[in-house]
Symmetry: C2
Subunit: 233 residues, 2 copies
DNA sequence: CGGTACGTTGAGTCATATCAACCATAGTGG
DNA sequence: CCACTATGGTTGATATGACTCAACGTACCG
């Protein structure tokens, strides 16, 4: 399965921008302690409010990260693809994970034990800075997300999500998104009910903005979606 | 005005947990380049989408930090009090500020120039780690906030806000919150319309959960508010 | 061939936004 | 000292977006 990352040679490590500041010794150290792990679709990588023993860098596939609220409803705040890091917050703060992560398609991840992360952070200032940058970027995204949820309608948010998915995961020749989410998952990203998503997707399909063949969503009229997402109406 | 922090002696620096890992040389360096600034109520400290030349540690008073959305409506995502740091994200990423900060009461802040921050972060790993921790904590808070907004009703969020305000800013002998926000500001924290807040505050007042004398809000029945905020109903 | 999960549609309800009018308060200038 | 105005607070009426509940269709899977 994991032919792209057979045994995590330095070349691969280096290609991960997060690890670009590690020196040869540190990379060798990583080679020793890090492991490649594979998860099948729907498998859980780590669970909210349980302690985690390390963090994970996605190598292939897509992972959803979500919090489960009071009523058991999940809110997906992140869809992580290759080269993104998961769980470092909890690892650094030594607190239980504040979210659950599961594979939404088969995926490979690189597991880095807690001790290793601590050691690298302590001894390599540039690495710590890179992590700091990542945290800051996520923080900024998070704040934008809040403002969106607080101020935009479900329709606007859905349009924006579709554009974001195209932008982040790309589309195939038929303009179909390279990520497949159930209606419920879409609802849990947008923060609304499944039925509302279905109705709005139907509406977008009637308006020829998108097409929904099987599970795949094709983006047909990006301009129109932008208009909905970022202007008014 | 600023009698509490006359000339930022080392003792004060050290008392700020963020700065606890700086050595005497670094503290001396800070003394040289940092400045105490005062802002009157409603004065702007920095503005969304403008570059900022340094970051700010609140020494006294309260600062609100908000993003302005499409329609000009503001969303307040943070109320910062003494010892909290503002703007370090933008300073580290060298990007324009992604939010505006204004004083909601007269306040004093310590201004730390960008170069100084960069230097400290680069040369002092523990300091970088502390910042990383702060970023991670904010990130976690931010994620919780999103889940809240996405899943809770306005009433639940208002109850939770009132409890948070009591917890963070405290109350006087008459149980009145030590922070005064306009109804509009409350609405902009909760992410709703001003009128909705007014109606719900009236409801809470009728139910004897709070009292609203003048601008001050008194918390009378914390248990009841907790029930609303965290259970259902 | 049933079964289970997912998708779709409709009807009814409710929370919240919006619009509009009005009141309270405080600061301002004559 | 008093109108005058601006600002924020309050209330009511109305509209509507979005949720819920319920039924039913569809597709994949053993």
């Amino acid at each position: 399965m994991n032919t792209e990352f057979p045994d995590l040679p330095h070349a691969v490590w280096r290609s991960l921008s997060l690890l670009r500041h590690l020196n040869p010794d540190e990379l060798a150290y990583l080679d020793e302690v890090a492991e490649t792990r594979t998860y099948a679709k729907n498998e859980i990588i780590f669970t909210q409010s349980k302690r985690i023993s390390g963090c994970y860098i996605v190598l292939s596939g897509i992972v959803k990260q979500f919090k489960t609220g009071g009523e058991g409803k999940e809110y997906i705040f992140r869809l992580a693809k290759a080269y993104e890091i998961l769980g470092f917050r909890s690892v650094l703060s030594e607190e239980p994970a504040c979210s659950t992560s599961t594979a939404i398609e088969d995926c490979t991840v690189c597991y880095i034990p807690k001790d290793c992360m601590h050691r690298l952070v302590k001894t390599n200032g540039d690495f710590a800075l890179d992590l700091l940058q990542i945290a800051c970027r996520e923080l900024e995204e998070s704040h934008s997300l809040i403002t969106n949820i607080a101020q935009k309608s479900v329709k606007e948010r859905l349009a924006e999500l579709l554009l974001m998915l195209k932008n982040k995961f790309g589309v195939n020749e038929q303009q179909q998104l390279n990520i497949v989410l159930s209606r419920e998952e879409v609802a849990n990203v947008v923060g609304t009910a499944t039925e509302s998503i279905i109705r709005l997707l139907s509406e977008f399909r009637n308006d020829r903005y998108i097409d929904t063949g099987g599970k795949k969503i094709a983006i047909l009229n990006e301009k129109a979606l932008e208009k909905i997402a970022f202007l008014k109406g």
